[in-house]
Symmetry: C2
Subunit: 215 residues, 2 copies
C-alpha cells in the first residue's frame, strides 16, 4: 500500500461508470448476443465455435456460452426437468446480457426449444439497448437423427431417454428469426460467412480492427 | 443466405476453439478476477467503479459485477437467506470465471463475508489457469456505520433489519488477501493506483495498449 496518509473517511465518490461508447471504442464492436437455436445435433455448437474463431480472426472479441461451460459451472445445480431447463435458459440469457453489456459479442449455443424463453432473451437485451439476433440452425429432424454423434436420438427413440427435444419433447421453431441457416445445404464456412455478413449489416463491427491478421 | 448448394450433411467440423493466447493478444491483457470483499459501506463499489474507469482509461477491458447488475437479473430469483446468499456468491464466482475465460478483467463488488465462498471463487479460477486476486476493503466497522449512506446500519442496530453483516451476521476477514486497502487512510485514487500497480506486477497487462488516450 502506498505510504501516504490522507483524506476524509466519508468520501462520496460518484460511480465512475464507463460508458457504452467507451467500451465500443476500445473493442471496435457493439456488444450483443447471437442466439443460436435448433434441434439437438443440428449444428449449433459447430456454428458457434466456427463463428467465434472467425470473429477473432477478424479482430473482434467474442465468447461462446454453451452447455459445456455453463452446465459444469454456473448452472451446475440444474437438472433437466422442465423448470430446470427453463431456469438454465433464463440464466444463460441474463449472463449473455452481462457479457453484451461488457462490450463482448456472445454466441449462445443451446437448443432453447421454447419461443417464450428466446423472446425473454431478446427482450432483456433490447430493453438495455444491446444487440440481439436469433439465428435458427434449421436442420431437418431426419438429418439431426442421422448425425446423432452422441447416440441421444437412438436412446430417445428406444424410450431409454425421456423428454428429448424433437422426439418426445417439442421444439418450437422461430417465427421470425434474424437468420435461418440450413446446415443440410450449406457448409459451416458458408454459414459463418452469412452470419458475419449479417452482423456487419447490423452494425456489430465499428471499424476495421487493427489486429485483422490474428490467427 | 448465400446462394450456393453444397456439402455433406453429416460434416464433423472440429470445435475451432479460440485459444487463451489469442484472447490475450487481442485484448492486451490476461483475463482474471479482482475480487473485492469487505463490510457493507466499506467502499467496495466506489473502488470497483473507479478501478474499472481507470482500467478503461489505460485501454484495458474490464467489467464490474455487483449487486446492481446481478441481483436484478441473473440472481433475481435469490433472496437473502443464508442458502440464497451462498448461491448468490457461487453464481457470481462462476460468472466471473466465464468473463475471465473470455479474456476480460472482472471486478466483483460483493460483501462476500465468508472465507469458504471466497476460497471457492479463487479455486475455480486457479484451476482454470485464470488470474484471481482477493482484495480486502478494510474499513473499520465504526467508519462504515458512520457512512451508512442507505441507513442500513441504523436499521440493523435498531433491530428492524435482521442478519446484517457486521451487526448480527459475521464477516470473516481474509486471512491472506493479495492486497489490503484501508479506505479510512487512503483516497479512492490512491487505492486504485495501488491496485493497478499490483495488477501490473502480477502480469495482468500484456503490453502498452494503443488506446491509452481514451477517456
Amino acid at each position: 500500500m502506498i505510504d501516504v496518509k490522507t483524506k476524509a473517511t466519508n468520501l462520496v465518490w460518484h460511480k465512475a461508470q464507463v460508458t457504452r461508447t467507451q467500451r465500443e471504442t476500445l473493442l471496435h464492436q457493439r456488444g450483443g448476443t447471437i442466439w443460436l437455436t435448433g434441434l439437438p445435433s443440428s449444428g449449433k455448437s459447430t456454428t458457434a465455435y466456427a463463428l467465434e474463431a472467425e470473429l477473432f480472426r477478424k479482430g473482434f472479441a467474442a465468447y461462446v456460452l454453451d452447455g459445456d461451460n455453463v452446465r459444469h459451472g454456473l448452472n451446475k445445480d440444474l437438472g433437466f426437468s422442465a423448470a430446470e431447463r427453463a431456469e438454465n435458459i433464463r440464466r444463460v440469457a441474463e449472463t449473455a446480457k452481462l457479457f453484451a453489456d461488457a462490450g463482448l459479442i456472445v454466441v449462445t449455443s443451446f437448443i432453447s426449444p421454447y419461443r417464450g424463453e428466446r423472446d425473454f432473451a431478446r427482450r432483456i437485451h433490447l430493453d438495455s439497448g444491446l444487440g440481439f439476433a436469433e439465428i435458427f440452425i434449421d436442420t431437418p429432424l431426419e438429418i439431426c437423427e442421422e448425425r446423432d454423434p452422441k447416440g441421444f436420438y437412438a436412446r430417445a427413440r428406444s424410450g431409454r431417454l425421456k423428454g428429448f427435444t424433437g422426439i418426445d419433447d417439442p421444439y418450437e421453431p422461430p417465427l421470425s428469426p434474424e437468420l435461418v441457416c440450413r446446415t443440410a445445404e450449406f457448409s459451416p464456412r458458408q454459414i459463418v460467412s452469412a452470419i458475419i455478413e449479417f452482423m456487419a449489416e447490423e452494425g456489430f463491427f465499428l471499424d476495421r480492427p487493427r489486429n485483422a491478421a490474428l490467427r
